[in-house]
């Protein structure tokens, strides 16, 4: 059994003390920022990237991955107890989770969320282990034209699944691609759009862009709102769900896991879409749809399993193809590059320890989350009483240190502030920052592959439609765009996001 052998390699790596330690740090940090509203995994991972420079690649990835799926656990805690989604992916958990808490059933809600997430985490880990190697095998045969088409497909899918206006999302992708071009052109050595600023010759660091757009912009936007946070301080008694709860939950957990795993693999997918999709599905299938929004346990079980599954399977395209499916994965690719590892299908063969160690650590991390989080819930809730006016200067200090330490250059901090202002304008204009980040990280790769493909085909642009794999991606992109542009589906999509935003 290949998979078994591989998993054994993985667990040998994941179960060393150092890696257990970093997995623990990751999941604890993830839970922490998941609990705290106003700071998400993107800003946190961006903040910690410079620090991972001192770690081994395996330790760095294990920790950063832990933050992402840990945040999904943490987000559910605050959603249920305080009706505040600590993380955007737990928005729907608020609907029924908080109602359950008000009925004195906070314990079962938290337990079902945690156990559902754990189940989803185990399944998703297995899916990655089974699905990744064949995908990487296929990806190894990719030439420049296939890669280019794949990236087009990824970006199209990312915009289709983004909130709000489709054209604006595509615009943000293109804007990101353009910003990614800034710096030295690898082919000609020409400095492009650097305006004689020496710091720009290596391009704008994407950590800096991510921190500005997701960190400072978010803080500025949060400061507009008055600090109003009331804690629902009921004692969390009898944690364990009744038999009836179990009976009602296992179906939604299974379906949530399946849907979440699938949506996570799609480019642009991940935890957010997964949780929302799972909630809608359960509401449609349920025998008691009238209970949804009034404390139905299915409304907690399904989205919480789905977001954890989605968070994990979104690693598949990143690990096998080197293509990020969301902003967090873009940062993971950044982490690999900092370590001098070129992301792509070769990683699995060349660095089996890294690849399988990361996968095994996800399972270990999920176990830690279940074991640690249920007893620690009281502590996490206490943290919520910390007012935002203490929190945001602290977040700013960590971001500033992180950015400054990249190259000990004040210019980097200036650029972060610039993107903070730009991100704030984008918030006001309802332009999504996530597609921009994806475009930004793919910009140089796309240009490089486009150039190579065109050189190989002697300038024939139809090369993208002649090779079968490349053609497949192009057709898939076109279908996606046409589907979304169709009035009926367009309306559905808008409704979906409106409901989610509530």
């Amino acid at each position: 059994m290949d998979i078994l052998n591989n998993l054994i390699i993985g667990f040998q790596v994941a179960l060393t003390w150092t890696h257990l330690f970093y997995a623990l740090v990751g999941v604890l940090l993830g839970t922490l920022i998941g609990v705290l509203p106003g700071i998400g995994p993107v800003a946190t991972i961006a903040m910690l990237l410079p620090i991972t420079f001192n770690l081994s690649p395996v330790a760095a990835l294990i920790m950063l991955a832990g933050i992402y799926y840990g945040a999904q656990y943490g987000g559910s805690t605050t959603a249920i107890l305080v009706n505040i989604p600590g993380e955007s992916s737990s928005v729907v958990t608020c609907l029924d989770g908080y109602q359950m808490a008000r009925q004195g059933r906070a314990g079962p809600a938290l337990a079902v969320a945690a156990l559902g997430s754990f189940f989803a985490g185990c399944v998703a880990t297995l899916i990655i282990a089974v699905a990744a190697p064949p995908l990487a095998e296929v990806a190894l045969k990719f030439g420049p034209s296939e890669y280019f088409s794949l990236m087009v497909f990824g970006l199209v899918a990312a915009t289709v699944l983004a909130h709000g206006s489709l054209i604006k999302a595509i615009g943000m992708v293109v804007l990101g691609l353009l910003l990614g071009i800034i710096g030295t052109d690898v082919n000609s050595g020409v400095l492009r759009f650097t305006f004689d600023i020496p710091e720009l010759s290596d391009g704008v660091g994407f950590v800096i862009v991510a921190m500005g757009m997701f960190g400072t912009a978010e803080i500025i936007a949060n400061l507009e709102l008055k600090d109003k946070r009331e804690i629902f301080t009921s004692k969390v008694s009898h944690l364990y769900p009744s038999m009836a709860d179990f009976k009602r939950s296992w179906g939604p957990v299974m379906r949530g896991t399946a849907l979440g795993s699938f949506l996570g693999i799609l480019p642009g997918g991940g935890a957010l879409l997964a949780s929302f999709g799972a909630y809608t599905l359960e509401k449609k299938l349920s025998r008691y749809p009238e209970q949804f929004g009034k404390g139905a346990i299915e409304g907690v079980a399904a989205p919480e399993s789905a977001n954890n599954a989605g968070a994990q399977t979104s690693f598949i395209p990143m690990l096998t193809l080197g293509i990020p499916s969301n902003a967090v994965m873009a940062l993971m690719i950044g982490a690999l590059m900092i370590q001098g590892i070129a992301p792509g299908p070769q990683v699995m063969n060349e660095k089996p320890q890294l690849f399988w160690g990361l996968i095994a650590s996800m399972w270990v991390g999920n176990l830690m989350l279940v074991v640690l989080n249920l007893p620690l819930i009281g502590m996490w809730v206490k943290l919520l009483t910390v007012p935002y006016r203490y929190l945001y200067p602290s977040i700013l200090v960590f971001m500033a240190i992180g950015v400054f330490s990249l190259s000990n250059n004040p210019f980097d901090v200036l650029v972060m502030a610039f993107f903070g202002v730009f991100g704030y304008i984008c918030v006001k204009l309802e332009c999504e920052p996530a597609p921009l980040i994806l475009g930004f990280i793919l910009g140089p790769l796309m240009e490089e592959n486009l150039r190579r493909a065109m050189l190989l085909s002697r300038g024939d642009p139809f090369v993208f439609f002649q090779k079968p794999i490349s053609l497949g991606f192009m057709i898939a992109s076109a279908i996606l765009l046409v589907l979304v542009a169709l009035p009926a589906i367009r309306k559905k999509r808008e409704e979906a996001f409106v409901e989610e935003a509530k």
Partner: protein, 151 residues
Amino acid sequence: MKIKSPKEFWSGAMFVGVGMFFLIWAATHYQMGTAVRMGPAYFPVVLGGLLAVLGVAVLLEGLALEGPAVPQFHFRPLILISAGCVAYGYLMKPLGLVGATAALVFISAYGGHEFKWKEVTILYIVLMAFSWLVFVKGLTLPFPVWPAAFE
């Protein structure tokens, strides 16, 4: 002409502006090359043009369809948070971690809703101690701790 949906209109205007800027700058400063051998200007010119076209579409949508107004900008947090970060970066070398952190904490805290000297001072001391312990001692990042004049 009346702007019916300001959010769309200004997003479109932004896209057109940025797209045209990249297009014109690339076309006038770098070599285009051919489709076979693309010069440094090729990709930005194509993308800049695409962004401008998308921008026009969004802009026209803003003129044609009713939509919500752009929410008000709150300049106090916007300016003070950004200024705090910039101050941190540029004060690090002359004033060290002690001075830079002070600038960031006090300026950004002033951008919030409440500002109490005592609270912010305590917060500053805690953050300063934490930064020093974790980043300077723990991770050995090469930050100057004290102002350059004292070293």
